[in-house]
């Protein structure tokens, strides 16, 4: 495929992706920190909805049309260590690699520093690649749950999609997204009201 075609497809895909990220507010640091503080579940809802859709899409593409999957290898230590570090970075940034770009587009100025730091982080990893893989020496196979169960991919994918739909229905009932979105759609609830004034005009001590 020509480079220009690939770039145009990528831009179109990205624009749609960024649009959805902005509309869902999942790019908001308030939403992401809120998720990690288990105060808000919009990030989980967007995430699982995308996973459910992907499961169904791939059940069709792979199950009916034989489109090959693109599995990543199972690397026990790298997945765990890398995931933990990535998660820490996400909480501190209030963003993941994709949403940091959405923050940039939506107007948060600190996103420029997140992206800059991310580029240097990627650069550092590349320079330290050899010693890092020496620390985490693993050869991984591309293992998927359907293989482990000995069932066709489409079957397990659709079953998981159904289970996740049920989970989301229950989650939404417990904590509706509109209650979490925040007055400025940034995932932040208003601060507790100012200390009440007593009848004699003095102010009660502010609660901690």
């Amino acid at each position: 495929m020509s480079l220009i075609t690939a770039v145009l497809i990528g831009l179109a895909t990205g624009i749609a992706f960024g649009f959805a990220l902005e509309k869902s507010r999942v790019f908001e640091p308030g939403i992401i920190v809120g998720q990690m503080q288990l105060r808000s579940f919009i990030m989980l809802k967007v995430f699982l909805a995308a996973v459910i859709t992907g499961l169904v899409v791939l059940a069709v593409l792979n199950g009916i049309f034989g489109v090959p999957l693109q599995l990543k290898p199972l690397l026990l230590r790298a997945d765990i260590v890398g995931g933990l570090i990535l998660g820490a970075g996400i909480a501190l940034a209030g963003a993941c690699p994709g949403t940091s770009m959405a923050q940039l587009g939506a107007g948060y100025k600190d996103a420029w520093f997140i992206v800059l730091g991310a580029i240097f982080g990627a650069m550092a990893y590349g320079y330290f690649y050899e010693p890092i893989i020496a620390l985490l020496p693993e050869k991984g196979d591309k293992i998927s749950f359907d293989q482990l169960l000995g069932l066709p991919f489409w079957m397990v994918a659709l079953a998981l999609a159904a289970a996740l739909v049920v989970f989301l229905v229950v989650l939404e009932r417990f904590t509706p997204w509109q209650d979490e979105i925040g007055a400025d759609v940034d995932g932040l609830a208003p601060l507790p009201a100012e200390s009440p004034k007593r009848m004699d005009g003095t102010t009660a001590a502010r609660r901690a």
């Binding site: 690939a6 649009f19 967007v46 859709t53 990535l86 993941c96 587009g105 932040l188």
Partner: protein, 171 residues
């Protein structure tokens, strides 16, 4: 109000839209949605400016050239553009930094936030490359493919995020 002009969509609508993007990605690009690799591509080219030896380094070299690598860079740039367009359509203008940082870290200014944001971005991508993917690559794509490794990475991601967020003030 037209859907495109709303300030906030239901998360499910946005999630479905994102999941549907796997269709052109798998059919046209023979790959899955991802974001963190593009940062390696950009980093490699920037480093190549100063260090001509970059192209001989296996990890960098594999990310520098070809349709698939530049496709992902285009996706990630597109994300910024799409978010901008969406923001302009709804008028959901953002402040310099999110008010969450005052609550979570006592930070009110860009000057105070900048070094933390930089370090956070550094840690984020460093971890992503150790894991070989991020919330898009392992999360949205890996779990949709029932990948065991990706599911593990996502679990670790949430664990790391939740533990770190506990160190911050409750926003």
């Amino acid at each position: 109000m037209c859907l495109m002009h709303r300030k906030a969509w239901p998360p499910y609508l946005a999630g479905i839209a994102i999941g549907l993007l796997q269709i052109p990605t798998f059919l046209l690009m023979n790959t899955a949605l991802g974001a963190s690799s593009s940062f390696v591509t950009v980093a490699a080219h920037i480093a190549a400016f100063f260090d001509p030896g970059i192209a001989t380094m296996k990890y960098f070299a594999s990310h520098m050239y070809g349709a698939k690598n530049w496709w992902q860079v285009a996706v990630v740039v597109g994300i910024a553009i799409g978010a901008f367009i969406s923001m302009r359509l709804s008028g959901a203008r953002r402040q310099t930094i999110s008010p969450v940082w005052e609550r979570a870290m006592g930070i009110r200014s860009l000057g105070a936030r900048a070094p933390i944001a930089f370090a956070a971005g550094f840690i984020m991508l460093f971890g992503a490359r150790i894991a070989g993917g991020c919330t898009s690559g392992h999360g949205i794509s890996g779990m949709a493919q029932l990948s065991v490794g990706s599911t593990l990475a996502v679990a670790a991601m949430f664990a790391g995020g939740i533990l770190t967020a506990m160190l911050m003030k409750r926003a």
